[in-house]
Amino acid sequence: MQNLRESKSLIGWLMVSPLALVLGVFLVLPIIMITIVSFWQATEFSIIPAFEFDNYEFLFGSPVTYTVFLNTFKYAIITWVFTFLIGFTVAYYLAFHIHSLTWQVALFLLCTIPFWTSNIIRMISWIPFLGRNGIANTTLISWGVIDEPLEWLLFSDFSVVLAFVHLYTLFMVVPIFNTMMRIDKSLIEAARDGGANGAQILWNVILPLTKPGIMIGTIFVVTLVMGDFFTVRIMSGSQSANVGRLISNDIALLQYPSASATAIVLLLTVLIVIGILLRFVDIRKEL
């Protein structure tokens, strides 16, 4: 008996070890390394191993940091609002208004079509569309809606958020759709039996029961947007910055200690945000 139990725990250890190894080497170790490097010293031409708080002091002492963090939060919040509104609506339509499973699957696949091309291509395709002489502007001019090209369509906060929403809405649709499909349809009937109209059912039954899915989608979108640097660079035409760009600029200048410190602060910020989100909803039910 004892033997069997021991061998069982051994098998258990063996089964988790590949994943543990991968996560250890490629996630935990790099983070430890970044943490260590963030305390190092750097000059214009050298990096010196040390244990100093210079990088953090500089980071928290610079007004640029606060502006950039604020900007990152701004992108995250605006993107969240739009991905949530679109994602919830799409998921709601798929889950409650399409009754045949075949159509549900077909329309769901339709939602994933943008994902068949790479992120970068999808992003860059916006440029000829939104540009000064792009399709959007020429169309609007030819319709007579505007007289001269709209300048804010491209290389602006608008285009950054547009690209984020385009890239990440599906991350909202999938978990919300998944949660909605698990809602017992007789609950909707019971609500109607109790006199609830469509809006009341949505507010009192569907929305609360969909919270875990919304929360999972929110975590996806918020972490993706807060960690991004490429979309902001391309879509803002290098005119606005977020934390990711701060880090990538430091790396380009070989200022690894400073980049590491910024990365650690960003990591902690994102973890705190997720921690706060998880306070609101218990997503364990969903996993």
Partner: protein, 328 residues
């Protein structure tokens, strides 16, 4: 209120799903303030009928009258009906109290008022102590009582129950059915209860409506439907009956009305196939003319006074009044 005006009546009610007819032009008048069971095998149309009355299924043809008005085009909450769902359909994110108060909240009743009314309802089903729990923290029987309270708070004229006892264990089922019966008497409203268990229907119902293949086979007081089945289906579905082909046609006779006699002295001749002791009774399975199986259920004292063994030839007899002619 005038009781006669609260009658529920189905008029040529039909439900079609594409080409399939789930309910085929049924008409029935339900007695007011009575406990009615819609009984039948799965797929017979009883649930569709109930869901049409509740308003969760559209009516293909015909109408549903309640208190003299056609309620079939109305939304569920305006019909004067309330439904208790098979799996109870309690809102998992709401407390017991909020579940019961749900319909009041939808009507815009303010919180203190609806909590007071919901509290009274919970008192009725004896759940006051558990009002702050979530449905998942309740037993099956308690969940059912919450569902009952939630349905009754709308003050329905007819309470519709969709297989309300099927999710409970046998012991609880028997206890809950007496509670349902008691509640119906106290409230003085109509209960319409869908079930596939004839024992449940017999135990509960003032009136039993037996459905099969989308139509009503027979309707009447429980005792009448059991004692005098009109069709072969009803006789077999209610159980405890022999269906025998006699020269005058097919008849149904209750198993306990059939008595064994000496060979040659009965109405028909039969050979004993098996004898089963069942405690208070002994069941004698016989094979009569034309390869028909006939069961006689005899009090154990009578059987052991003149026992029969498998292979014996015996006669079977019964009273003419116990013989019911079957139309189909």
């Amino acid at each position: 209120m005038n009781a006669a005006k609260q009658d529920l009546e189905l008029v040529s009610l039909t439900k079609r799903y594409g080409d399939t007819v789930a309910v085929d032009t049924i008409s029935h008048h339900f007695k007011p303030a009575s406990y009615t069971c819609l009984l039948g095998p799965s797929g017979c149309g009883k649930s569709s009928t109930l869901r049409m009355i509740a308003g969760h299924e559209t009516v293909s043809e015909g109408s549903i009258l309640l208190a003299g008005r056609d309620i079939s085009p109305l939304p569920p909450a305006q019909r004067g009906t309330a439904m208790m769902f098979q799996n109870y359909a309690l809102f998992p994110h709401l407390s017991v109290l909020d579940n019961v108060a749900f319909s009041l909240k939808m009507k815009g009743v303010d919180k203190s008022e609806r909590d007071k009314k919901a509290g009274e309802m919970l008192e009725l089903v004896d759940l006051t102590a558990l009002k702050d729990r979530r449905p998942a923290q309740l037993s099956g029987g308690q969940q059912q009582r919450v569902a009952l309270a939630r349905a009754l708070i709308t003050r329905p004229q007819v309470l519709l129950l969709d297989e309300p006892l099927s999710a409970l264990d046998p012991f609880l089922r028997i206890r809950m059915r007496s509670e349902l019966r008691k509640l119906q008497k106290e409230l003085g409203i109509s209960f319409l209860h869908v079930t596939h268990g004839q024992d449940e229907a017999l135990a509960l119902a003032d009136e039993v409506v037996v459905m099969n293949n989308a139509v009503i086979e027979q309707a009447g007081p429980a005792r009448e439907v059991f004692n005098a089945p009109r069709t072969k289906f009803v006789a077999q579905f209610m159980g405890g009956h022999n269906v025998i082909s006699l020269p005058e046609g097919q008849v149904a006779i209750r198993s306990d009305a059939v008595a064994p006699t000496e060979a040659g002295q009965g109405r028909i001749e039969a050979s004993v196939v098996a004898v089963e002791y069942q405690g208070t009774h002994v069941s004698i399975l016989t094979r009569a003319q034309g390869d028909q199986e006939v069961t006689a259920v005899v009090p154990d004292a009578d059987f052991y006074a003149s026992p029969h063994n498998p292979g014996d030839l015996i006669g079977l007899t019964w009273d003419q009044t116990n013989q019911h002619h079957l139309t189909a």
